[in-house]
């Protein structure tokens, strides 16, 4: 029967962990705004501009210049 004791302890620990997680998430304000996070994740982050202001296609990713020559 002692195995049940161990299981009991383990299950209670897991349950306490989830209770703590719940309290943390409430404190963190995760239930306050149910719109923004759901939509924010869908926004695409566009890759940085690959064409310079001059209009030339640029292949050098490290180039910081906005006006470069081909």
């Amino acid at each position: 029967m002692s195995v049940i004791m161990i299981l009991l302890g383990a299950s209670l620990l897991v349950a306490i962990f989830f209770l703590a997680a719940f309290i943390w998430s409430v404190k963190n304000g995760q239930f306050e705004d149910d719109f923004s996070p759901a939509h924010r994740i869908l926004f695409e982050v566009k890759p940085a501009e690959t064409t310079c202001k001059s209009g030339h296609a640029c292949t050098n990713k490290n180039c910081k210049s906005r006006i470069c020559k081909p």
Binding site: M1, I4, M5, L8, S11, L12, A15, I16, F18, L19, F22, I23, V26, K27, F31, E32, D33, D34, F35, S36, H39, R40, L42, F43, E44, K46, E49
Partner: protein, 797 residues
């Protein structure tokens, strides 16, 4: 007037805001715009590669037809004002939260959170969509608060900064109940699990040693529930007891304590497992009910007073310089510069400028008033055209409008009528106590050893938690059904008060009539186009609001010479327009002999001394309002309180029925007084209004509902907010609230059946934990389902 009909679909819609575009086209590429403002926003976003804004949602913008004054946010440069708005700053960064009413879709979210692409000083923007707020973190070395506010304004997201934001802490969100609920849920579930061996112990599954461990574990787990989660009920019962009122929480607390003590003694004396599962279950379910009932609408505010309407600062002229000054710092004899479309913050004397003031906000009068230099203007009015200067004669806190809020009637909190639930529970408590006493005497005579188990079992089983559950769940659900129909009530107590009303008081302007423009019609001899233009051109010389409507109706010809123009205050205007001598005004002024009584404001016309006809200006009543009033007068007493003149009184009397009381030219204080006098006669009053002028009456009435064109708009303090186009649904709302009580009573009767079954075991002293464990959740869950089903069924369309 001829109406140009447009086939649907052919009209161009603005690429920014989706409004109809005017005939003369404002184009950028192939994109049409309704105004230069919208086009400007588009260009700005296009330049900064932010046009995803338009692809996420179609036409997400706000019309920019009304340009925002250039230095509107100059006051944000003022150190003192700024200090009170920001909530954190250090050497490098500042945090500020702006309320932005226009936030309404995912495009808004995206654009605002990309604000750093427009202003590199902005570090991060986090939008709270539910509250329509944006938390902005910026580096103050690189940008300024004013610049951010102006950037937001330039892309159509003007932050709303009002006097209310000044130096007041925002209320913290109440999460307390949720924590308690979480703890109760955790303990309840585990106790339930650990109780299973006990339930089946009679069938030979028992292991004495294990049972012992389980019991003690249960006891430990029940401690947080008893000492933490259930505190809500203890506190409310104690509060009621202290003020000499037996509320429903008292018998519940009694049952919780009895259950707990009985369970403790059972475990300590090793005679049983106790009823920890039932006790934690009761607390858990009742807490769910509380949470559902107390759910608030974050985006709405029910407690707005005048400070939410007033600007935070105003320009004060000092030595010819405009100095932005916070409102509380305005002193008597300061010269205030009120810009176009700004609110007058303090009572004062008009010194300079042409004042056309819209007092509809304060008095409900639809027609703006014209004031000349030397006259007194009151706080709360909105200057419609051009800038004016006023000399303040009172400080903001002492103005006429402000003083309305400081009236004694409104400051003393009204005594809350106790809900019928509490009265019901009181009878219930007495009956339960009687049963307990009878049980005790019976067992005292027959088998004294069974007094304790039997009496405690009676008290445990007869806890009116089913009644509390029924009421909280039904209230919560009815609130949600109402909010689906766009009536947002402040709390559950408002449901009951709305169900009990017998007198409905309406405001006129903005409530029965829409905020949309009035209609104008011409009656009389046919006019030639030439004469029509002549009338319009003459009326264009006057700034009177009625003249403006006439100009809009007749059109004008700027080349037409106007001679001998004369304007007589409160009478009319006259003058020569080309070959015609035209008089416009009231009957006496135009020497009209045939006066007529109409349901609107009448302007008579005489051309060359001959009466030709008259214009009638009518305010549009909301669609369906007439049918609504005719329906309501059968069941309720009706009243109308209007700040406006009595031009439409005949018509309204006809619509509202002969029994209705109509009062016109009512000041805000009069409205409040009228509600008070009705209440003195013992009537329960529902007030429906919209403006600040109704605020006192809304607050004083048993239930005040404020009407709003859309829920983003501002509404005065009230018990409920109703979207204007749903006004015609009012009888249904009242019916739904009445059903609320019915549902609670029905479910209560059903829960009594459960109680009788339980009592059958309890009085005999043979209530086993298993029976209790089955009865308790079964009754709770079935009641929750029943309330849900019944309220859905009764609230069906």
């Amino acid at each position: 007037m001829a109406i140009i009909s447009v086939a649907p679909g052919t009209q161009l819609r603005c690429a920014h805001c989706g409004e109809d575009c005017p005939d003369h086209k404002i184009l950028l590429g192939d994109k049409p715009f309704c105004c230069e403002g919208c086009k400007l926003v588009y260009e700005l976003l296009n330049e900064n590669d932010l046009c995803d804004y338009y692809t996420l949602n179609s036409n997400p913008g706000q019309s920019q037809r009304l340009p925002v004054r250039k230095d509107k946010f100059a006051f944000l440069d003022d150190q003192n004002i700024r200090q009170q708005l920001i909530h954190f700053h250090d050497d490098t960064q500042t945090h500020v939260t702006f309320y932005i009413p226009h936030i309404h879709c995912s495009s808004c979210l995206w654009l605002l959170e990309n604000l750093h692409r427009l202003d590199s000083g902005v570090q991060r923007v986090t939008v709270n969509f539910a509250k329509k707020e944006a938390l902005i973190i910026f580096r103050q070395q690189e940008t300024s608060l004013r610049h951010i506010a102006e950037t937001l304004t330039s892309i159509g997201y003007e932050p709303y900064i009002s006097l209310k934001d000044l130096g007041r802490e925002k209320p913290r969100i109440q999460r307390d109940l949720i924590y308690r609920l979480g703890v109760a849920g955790f303990c309840f579930a585990n106790i339930m699990l650990l109780s299973f061996p006990e339930y089946f112990s009679q069938y030979g599954y028992a292991d004495v040693k294990m049972n012992h461990v389980f019991r003690w574990l249960n006891l430990t787990l029940s401690l947080p529930v008893f000492f933490y989660s259930a505190q809500v009920f203890f506190r409310s019962a104690w509060g009621g007891l202290k003020s000499g009122f037996l509320n429903i929480d008292l018998p519940i607390v009694l049952a919780i304590i009895v259950t707990f003590v009985r369970s403790l003694t059972d475990v300590f004396t090793d005679t049983g497992a106790g009823y920890f599962d039932s006790m934690t279950g009761i607390v858990f379910f009742m807490l769910i009910g509380r949470v559902l009932q107390d759910k608030t609408y974050q985006g709405l505010s029910f407690d707005r007073d005048y400070t939410a309407y007033f600007p935070i600062a105003v320009s004060v002229l000092k030595n010819g310089q405009e100095v932005p000054t916070a409102l509380p710092d305005i002193r008597i004899n300061d010269t205030l510069l009120i810009h176009h479309q700004e609110l007058i913050p303090a009572d004062g004397i008009l010194v300079k400028g042409n004042a056309i003031i819209d007092y509809s906000f304060v008095t409900g009068e639809a027609v703006p008033v014209h004031k000349t230099a030397g006259e007194i203007v009151y706080a709360g009015g909105k200057q419609l055209e051009g800038n004016i200067e006023i000399l303040s004669i009172k400080e903001v806190a002492q103005s006429y409008l402000t003083s309305l809020w400081n009236r004694q009637e409104l400051r003393t909190p009204q005594e809350e009528q106790p809900s019928f639930i509490h009265l019901l529970s009181r009878y219930f408590t007495w009956v339960v106590l009687a049963i307990a006493i009878i049980t005790a005497t019976y067992w005292w005579a027959h088998d004294p050893a069974r007094i304790w188990p039997a009496v405690t079992a009676v008290l445990i089983i007869a806890c009116p938690c089913a009644l509390l559950l029924a009421s909280t769940f039904t209230n919560g659900h009815i609130l949600r059904i109402l909010s689906r129909r766009r009536l947002y009530l402040r709390n559950a107590a408002a449901i009951e008060r709305l169900a009990d009303i017998d007198h409905i008081v309406f405001d006129k302007t903005g409530t029965l009539t829409g905020k949309a423009a009035a209609s104008i019609s011409y009656h009389g001899m046919p006019l030639t186009m030439e004469k029509l233009r002549a009338i319009g051109s003459l009326a264009a010389q006057s700034t009177h609001p009625l003249s403006k409507m006439i100009v809009a109706f007749c059109g004008k010809d700027d080349n037409l010479p106007i001679r001998n123009f004369r304007s007589v205050q409160a009478s009319g205007i006259s003058g020569w327009a080309q070959y015609y001598f035209i008089q416009l005004g009231n009957a006496a002024f135009t020497e009209t002999t045939k006066t007529i009584s109409t349901d609107g404001s009448t302007v008579y016309i005489s051309i060359d001394g001959r009466q030709t006809g008259y214009f009638i200006v009518r305010h549009h009543y909301r669609e369906g309002v007439v049918a609504l009033l005719e329906h309501l007068q059968k069941k309720y007493a009706l009243s109308l309180l209007s700040g406006d003149n009595d031009a439409e009184s005949n018509y309204l009397q006809k619509v509202m029925g002969p029994a209705a009381t109509l009062r016109f030219t009512q000041q805000p204080a009069d409205k409040l007084g009228y509600i008070l006098s009705l209440q003195k006669q013992g009537q329960r009053v529902l007030m429906i209004g919209d403006g600040l002028n109704d605020a006192g009456a809304l607050k004083q009435s048993d239930i005040g509902i404020s009407l709003t064109e859309n829920s983003n708009n501002f509404t005065p303090a009230s018990d409920g907010i109703l979207e204007a186009d749903q006004l015609t649904q009012l009888p249904r709302f009242i019916r739904t609230c009445k059903n609320n009580k019915r549902i609670i009573v029905i479910t209560f009767i059903i829960s009594l059946l459960y109680n009788f079954i339980g009592l059958f075991f309890a009085v005999q002293g043979i209530l086993s934990p298993l029976t209790a464990a089955i009865l308790m959740p079964a009754s709770s869950i079935s009641i929750v389902l029943l309330t849900y089903g019944l309220s859905e069924w009764m609230g069906r369309p």
